[in-house]
């Protein structure tokens, strides 16, 4: 009888323990999510165009030196060629900006830096431009080294991470004025 009581007690205790375990796991998951999910403030560490790495390759395969753009207004964003969710929104946003600039008579250079130089090479960007009719000469799609891409992203507050063939990222556009000073930084909410 004593044994049976103990067994019953044990079963009840086990049920409680199982519940407690599950609750603890869920609590731990929530804690982890809270700890990780609080968005870190996105801030640009570089506020001057001259601080960005200068040497890139454009979608024609030619060396592209950012210093050639000193003294001009520059609109800059980052993208990857096989992105079909966020990057099309960013590109649409850039097109709208270009139209606004055209209406106001503002001259600007549009730079799109590839997040993933391993997947998005010169040919990929060339194809991207052709497919989407992004053929204006003041638009430049740039390929860099992985280190330079990560550095620019860090400097300008573009947060991204690569997972398999996907690049997980948000949409963001920054603008430098003619003095090379960062004057605007917008998230592309898009939706």
């Amino acid at each position: 009888m004593q044994t049976n009581n103990n067994r019953l007690f044990d079963r009840g205790l086990l049920r409680h323990l199982t519940f407690a375990r599950s609750a603890a796991i869920v609590a731990a998951m929530l804690l982890a999510t809270l700890a990780l999910g609080v968005p870190a403030p996105v801030c640009a560490a570089a506020t001057r165009f001259a601080e960005l790495p200068a040497a890139w390759v454009d979608d024609r395969g030619q060396p592209f030196d950012l210093r050639a753009l000193y003294g001009r207004t520059v609109v800059l964003s980052m993208a990857y060629a096989t992105c079909h969710r966020v990057c099309p929104l960013t590109i649409d946003h850039l097109r709208r900006l270009q139209s606004e600039f055209d209406q106001r008579g503002v001259q600007a250079e549009f730079l799109v830096i590839g997040y993933d130089p391993e997947a998005d090479d010169v040919a990929a960007w060339r194809q991207y431009r052709r497919t989407r009719q992004l053929l204006r000469s003041n638009w430049h799609f740039l390929v860099g080294t992985r280190a330079d891409v990560e550095r620019v992203a860090r400097q300008l507050g573009f947060e991204f991470w690569k997972m398999d063939q996907h690049v997980i990222h948000d949409g963001r556009i920054v603008r430098f004025d003619e003095r090379g000073v960062l004057v605007a930084s917008d998230a592309v909410s898009g939706l």
């Binding site: 700890a35 001259a50 090479d121």
Partner: protein, 470 residues
């Protein structure tokens, strides 16, 4: 329906995983990054103050020099003229005042040496800021993830349940280890068939990237057959649809193909003009069947048998931009440990796939053929096949999709007969993905599933899923 018994060891793993996940999110590394940010901010503030002071001093020096020049008057003029004559034409020193991009910092009248010092100081701090860690990622720790919850007339993975469910919480750790070394760890908390939460190290792979054309991975990875198994993973946010096709579900969710392999994986791509060739080749532990479920033998195989395979794809360009076609094949020897003595089957799979992925369309089709040989009972060869077609159309926030899938598995084949979910079936599904914002999506799906041989039955489903990434 199959039920998996989560042993106490699983609970212990769950605890360990939960503690790990929580700990990783709150490690001193994260706090150290905050400290560094504060330190950089402080340095930048000091620099700004120094620049301000230098500018003020420069102005004072200018004013003093101007007064001195006025006082000395004509006596200094010949000397200045001589000095100007000594500088060759076109060799004027470039000061920050004349250099584009620096005009905002240096005052127009700053003397050359002061300007040079300012420039040097500025570059130093810029480099420090650029090189110093800003985020936990920069300290070698990057952690991201996905999660989804849902509700429905059936559970999307375990149809014996209905109502609301938590599906999974999937953590990704992608530490940055240098220019060539890569690592990926995926820790997944998921509900099992018995309704308990378990934890699995879904992927644990460390690799070396020699070039774009070759990366070598060692560890546990998604077996690179077809397209879907490597393009999509445990976090459902990334996929348009609400769940994977049934036959390529993960092993513990009833998948009948070996979704994971523990071994060596070579992968890369090579341009062929505007087109791109992708390839995968892998060799690893052969799988086993235990508890009616495929298992990838994480610890190794007792009898040394291997799985090996390859996948070649071609990414088109021009008018066919967004289209990828490919073929794959693998062979493995599966040990069924649910019977004594163990039963062995040689599994050979040949697949083909086509994907059309553009800003508007995401269409995927896969077909797999199996020619399996009974190595123990000598019942000969058995042919089976499975495939699916999925069409998705992106229209702003909304992405409607449709999918048809079918698995026709020979039930006299010991490989499929031994698996709890190895029965033949077909399923139609219509769904809608609604992107609430860039990191969360709501998905709805109506589906009809028919089981056609081991037991003949069908059921309809109305499913809802809320998926996020972080």
């Amino acid at each position: 329906m199959r039920t998996t018994n989560y042993a106490p060891a699983m609970c212990a793993r769950a605890w360990l995983g939960a503690v790990l996940a929580t700990g990783l999110g709150l490690t001193p590394a994260a706090r150290a990054a905050e400290d560094d940010k504060a330190r950089i901010a402080e340095l930048e503030q000091k620099l700004d103050e120094s620049l301000k002071m230098i500018r003020e001093l420069s102005h004072k020096v200018d004013a003093l020099e101007a007064r001195e020049a006025q006082r000395t008057g004509a006596a200094a003029a010949p000397a200045a003229a001589a000095a100007a004559a000594a500088v060759p034409a076109g060799a004027a020193p470039v000061t920050p005042a004349t250099a584009p991009g620096s005009a905002a910092i240096a005052g127009p009248a700053a003397p050359a040496d002061t300007a040079a010092r300012v420039t040097q100081l500025e570059e130093t701090v810029s480099q420090m800021a650029a090189n110093a860690p800003q985020h936990p990622e920069d300290r070698g720790l990057a952690m991201h993830g996905f999660a989804d919850v849902g509700a429905g007339t059936h559970n999307a993975q375990f149809p014996q349940y209905q109502g609301a469910d938590i599906a999974e919480l999937d953590f990704f750790l992608t530490p940055q280890l240098g220019a060539h070394t890569r690592a990926l760890f995926e820790l997944n908390f998921e509900v099992g068939a018995n309704g308990d939460v378990g934890v699995d190290l879904e992927r644990a792979q460390i690799g070396y990237q020699f070039s774009d054309a070759l990366t070598v991975w060692l560890g546990r990875f998604h077996t690179p057959y077809g397209y879907y198994n490597t393009a999509f993973h445990h976090g459902q946010w990334i996929a348009i649809s609400l769940r994977r096709p049934r036959f390529i579900e993960f092993e513990d969710h009833g998948g009948t193909m070996p979704a994971h392999t523990v071994g060596l994986w070579l992968t890369g791509s090579q341009r062929l003009g505007d087109q791109k060739l992708t390839y995968d080749a892998w060799i690893g532990n052969s799988q086993r069947i235990t508890g009616g479920t495929l298992d990838m033998n994480n610890a190794g195989v007792p009898r040394g048998s291997v799985m090996f395979g390859g996948n070649v794809g071609l990414l088109m360009s021009g008018a066919l931009d967004g289209l990828k076609v490919g073929v794959d094949a693998f062979q493995t020897r599966i040990e069924n440990q649910d019977v004594a003595p163990p039963y062995f089957t040689q599994v050979q799979s040949y697949g083909t796939y086509a994907v059309y992925d553009t800003d508007r369309w995401e269409d995927i089709a896969e077909l797999h053929f199996f020619r399996n040989t009974d190595l123990t009972g000598h019942t000969g060869q058995h042919d089976s096949h499975a495939g699916f077609v999925q069409l998705g159309y992106r229209a702003g926030r909304f992405t409607p999709y449709a999918r048809y899938e079918k698995g026709s598995f020979d039930q006299s084949d010991p490989y499929f007969a031994a698996q709890t979910d190895g029965n033949s079936y077909d399923r139609e599904a219509l769904g809608l993905r609604f992107d609430i914002d860039l990191s969360s999506a709501l998905k709805m799906e109506l589906a009809q599933t028919r089981f056609t041989d081991r037991y003949v039955t069908s059921y309809g489903e109305a499913l809802l899923q809320y998926a996020i990434r972080f």
